[in-house]
């Protein structure tokens, strides 16, 4: 199923990434250091990417794979998977409100990267 030329992977990422960023920004404005809410939302994003990765491999096997370059597609996917892992690790070592804002960067970055992966998979 496609919405506006982009698949459900992308739209799920938009929802999860936006929710995560909203949680992180609210917690940052409240002056709260990284907590279960902000870190939990990042773990959800990391989990999503893992499912996306497995899903991509399955789709690679049962379909023709990405229309664009497969190396670029998986390059994006693996790079994307490093980002929540990195920001989460950061938030474990720094217990200030700024680490909450750092976590909030994850959502927008992932939305853009999954958008690019969608373009590579379906269009070029």
């Amino acid at each position: 199923m496609m919405i506006a030329g982009l698949d459900l992977w992308f739209w799920i990422c938009v929802v999860l990434g936006t929710v995560s960023t909203v949680i992180c920004v609210i917690q940052f404005l409240r002056g709260v250091a990284a907590d279960d809410w902000s870190q939990g939302s990042i773990i959800v994003l990391q989990g999503f990417l893992m499912v996306y990765f497995v899903g991509s491999i399955i789709m690679q096997l049962v379909t023709d794979g990405p229309k664009g370059d497969w190396l670029e597609y998986y390059g994006y996917l693996l790079t994307a998977m490093i980002i929540p892992a990195g920001t989460l690790t950061w938030s474990l070592s720094e217990r200030t409100k700024w680490s909450t804002l750092v976590l909030g960067v994850t959502g927008p970055v992932l939305i853009i990267m999954v958008l690019r992966m969608n373009q590579l998979w379906y269009y070029y």
Binding site: G75, Y76, I82, G86, T96, W98, L101, V102, V105, I112
Partner: protein
């Protein structure tokens, strides 16, 4: 001033944004070198250079001390000059930039963040300027 250490507070966020750019620019440059180098060697070489500058800036911004501040200033200034020069050049000679680099067209492919980031970086470095350049 202690509360103005450049790797504290807002500086933390800046380091992370630089880290994300280092990561994505490196991944992109690596991919382009592997797959497309002969198509646009200039553009791709510049992508690789910009990735290195982002990495230097990230590390320098994250570290403490006067020398790290100076290195940050050098890296962020190079980035500022780079994005402006390559931005202008990519409009003047588009034939040399058929494959976009991070900085071509002032970073339009990255939502102009590559243009805004060094401005924010220079502002932050100015705010966190060490009291004297001689004492650590």
């Amino acid at each position: 001033m202690a509360e103005h250490a450049k790797n504290r507070g807002f500086g933390r966020l800046l380091v992370v944004i630089y880290a994300v750019f280092s990561l994505s620019a490196t991944a992109r440059a690596l991919y382009q070198v592997l797959r497309k180098f002969d198509q646009a060697p200039l553009s791709i070489s510049l992508s690789a250079v910009s990735a290195i500058i982002y990495i230097v800036a990230t590390v320098a911004l994250a570290k403490r001390g006067v020398n790290a501040w100076k290195l940050s200033l050098a890296a962020v200034s190079t980035e500022m000059v780079g994005v402006l020069l390559i931005g202008i050049f990519s409009f003047v000679r588009p034939d040399l930039f058929e494959i976009a680099s991070v900085w071509s067209h002032f970073g339009s492919g990255y939502g102009y963040i590559p243009l805004i980031l060094p401005m924010v970086g220079l502002w932050w470095l100015n705010r966190t300027k060490p009291a004297t350049a001689h004492t650590a």
